[in-house]
Amino acid sequence: MELAVDIVGGVLLAGGSIFLLIGGIGLLRMPDLYSRIHPAGITDTAGAGLILLGLLVFAGPTLVAVKLLLIFAIIFFTSPTSGHATARAALAAGLRPLLGRDMNKPADGGDKPSKP
């Protein structure tokens, strides 16, 4: 049983960690704000979710599990809200997203409001 916990929990933690790192890389690699929100989202959803799940496995049915679930719930509610609010504010401020094939142009050069 203990071994199973270790294995399942470890795998979950490892998976979460990988998602986190990939998200972090994406945050650096993506060309503009809007495309960066996507990998940032991975870290909050898949990354955070798997890690919390892993911890949950280790915690077992205790008070700790309740708190882990609560943290999960809070991230689940607030992360998309934050991402959405950021994107919306950027759009409202006139930041033009790079679309389609013009990705290779200098990023974030948009200075005119260009809401399609």
Binding site: I74, F77, T78, T81, H84, A85, R88
Partner: protein, 142 residues
Amino acid sequence: MKHHRVLRIISKMLIPYIMLFALYVQFHGDFGPGGGFQAGVILASALILYGLIFGIDAAADVMPGWVLIRIIAAGVLIYGGVGVATMMMGGEYLNYSVLAAEQVAGQHLGILVIEFGVGTTVAAAMVGIFFAFAQRGSEDDD
């Protein structure tokens, strides 16, 4: 930001639970230092979130400045009141042991009330600081 539907609805959902969490930290704070501080900050954050979304004026309607400042004061009075109580009961200032028949119980009671005072003051002070900056420009200050 009231018309920001996502923020509005998510915040409305969260606020009651944030407040409950604040009170949970408040009353379970005796296992670590500064439970009252944390609780106060969390409680304040609930109202601050409300103010951010629904506007400072709406938040100030719920918690007007004159109430806020009195709550700050009341918190300090609660804190000091415990001390006065211990003095009245023949102990030194803030010597909680004299508060109850049993020393440990007295200490628990004393800490609980003290932390409550701290939490109250911190919460109100944080909201007050938020108002003080957020309200700038919306009132004539002469």
